[in-house]
Symmetry: C2
Subunit: 327 residues, 2 copies
């Protein structure tokens, strides 16, 4: 059994716990938290909740540490720090800062002899893999990534920071016509506005100026100004009843040409429809934890991404089994 | 530049030639054929056509040999034989015999120190990879593979062997209702008949008994008896005008559950829409030829499948570039 520890017990950490339950070769040993451990109730009876201060002292009992913190402030510190002691996995998703994060993790992993696999999940993660495969197979082509329909936590948070807003949920919605055009191989040039719309559900304070809130949302730079945005005001009861889950999904499409005169077109599409964004992301993290353990057992170390991992290492099955059953 | 040779210049070999033209890091050096070389006209001016008898004598000039023969009789002999001298790629697609083929190639590759990557293409190949990734991420789930709409060469050939048939083209067509049910996460149990239909276009001799031909097609065991099959008789002109290309495609879908009580469902789909089946297959072969070369340069050898190859090796770009651009 591969001994796994989780650092950070929010939606993602709970998703990792569930994903480990659905494996036969992994065991959750510890959950580490910054909160007082006695206040954190987990689902796995055989696992122990400890304060983060105890993490390093447990290093001989843990094969892989899955770090479930946020990309803004947690992971840039935690992943480089804990790869000094553990094989680690994270879901760092600030695309622009991935090269810097890679360097920071790699520097310490080279010294410790551990593996750190960063930016694991679905985007970055499974979507990235599909962009890579499709680009390698069809070098003459164009990539499209559509997200949604799904809840964007960052956009929901941005709305919540507006005065008079009690709660908010923002759905990113791909524009059907754009997706269909790409699927047909028409290779359209699409603006930001043509690719996605933004749909917002907002619970406002009783005396709030709803017209002003709507204006502030729709004009918010970076988050909403470049999109067609729809705002619906709802009650807290409606919010709880209809918007408490975290679905997401999307698709990566590459349309490309082959032939001596590039006369033939091909469309490769990878798509996800997810009931629970954090549970799916967690399931990817757990599969890569298996790979990290196996690679380190073979003597490999350093920072890795999904691009570096032979697919076979993700499966609990033997090479002979996967060749027979899946090839 | 990576020096590539092609063995066998049919549809697939020509596709490989075109795919190499669309790379910046590979060069077609030789095409080997069983035909008299002077009768084989190729498109690449800088490459040389040679008889297969000369193949081994050119071994120092070739980095990877892409073997473009058929799975029935060519590849079981050629791939184990030529991995004695070359890094080789093949598209062996007789699913049931892959483990045996793997063993035969591996035995000789272990002695020669070369790499042989077998069963490369889209199924087996890209579809297999997607089955593996989806199974690793969603261990509780069900796999579905649909093929088409596309031309099945094997089924077309089977019709051509019937008395009175001059030419035939068979399209495998997935049943829309079945695909939609799977996409919705309904996890249906589907019979062979419920998954695909078969659509046949036949050119018959003038005096042929068309009713008898249609009966023979529809009752043919293994090929047609288990399917709803439609037969259209057309003229040779119609055949040439409307059925001369080799489109194909299909999709791999896995629907699976996560959560402590498996309460959330997820659907992962990988789909292909291909104008030219042989050119797309060839494009996958060429990407894996790049990986074979790089792996062998690093000192690796033996028989491999797509499951063993780190995705990064397929891309002509550096690791830093793919992390920056595609992750």
């Amino acid at each position: 059994m591969i001994n796994i520890a989780i650092l950070g017990y929010g939606n993602l950490g709970r998703g990792v716990e569930c994903a480990i339950k659905n494996t036969n070769d992994m065991k959750l040993s510890y959950v580490f938290t910054r909160r007082p451990p006695e206040t954190v109730k987990i689902l796995t009876e055989s696992a122990t909740v400890c304060h983060i201060d105890e993490l390093v002292s447990k290093k001989d009992e843990i094969d892989v540490l899955i770090i479930c913190g946020g990309s803004a402030t947690d992971l840039p510190v935690q992943t480089p720090e804990y790869v000094k002691y553990f094989n680690v996995i994270d879901s760092f998703d600030t695309h622009a800062k991935i090269p810097e994060h890679f360097e920071n993790v790699d520097k310490n992993a080279q010294i410790s002899g551990k593996i750190g696999i960063i930016s694991v999940g679905w985007d970055p993660g499974m979507f990235s893999l599909n962009r890579l495969y499709a680009n390698a197979v069809l070098p003459n082509g164009q990539d499209y990534t559509f997200w949604g329909k799904g809840v964007s936590q960052g956009h929901s948070d941005a709305i919540r920071r507006i005065d008079g807003v009690i709660d908010a949920r923002q759905y990113t919605v791909p524009v059907d016509e754009a997706v269909e055009s790409v699927r047909k191989g028409e290779n359209p040039t699409l603006t930001t506005r043509q690719k996605h719309t933004r749909l917002c559900y907002v619970v406002a304070e009783d005396n709030a100026d709803k017209a002003l809130i709507e204006k502030q949302i729709k004009e918010m730079p970076n988050y909403f100004a470049d999109y067609d945005t729809t705002v619906h005001f709802i009650t807290m009861e409606e919010m709880k009843r209809e918007h408490s889950s975290l679905p997401h999904g999307g698709c990566v499409i590459r349309s490309g040409k082959t032939g001596w005169e590039l006369e033939n077109n091909h469309v490769i599409e990878y798509s996800l429809k997810l009931d629970s964004n954090p549970e799916f992301t967690a399931s990817v993290l757990v599969a890569y934890a298996r790979a990290a353990y196996r690679l380190n057992q073979k003597g490999e170390y350093g920072c890795k991404t999904v691009f570096d991992i032979p697919p076979a290492l993700l499966s609990p099955k033997s090479s002979a089994e996967i060749v027979k059953e899946l090839l």
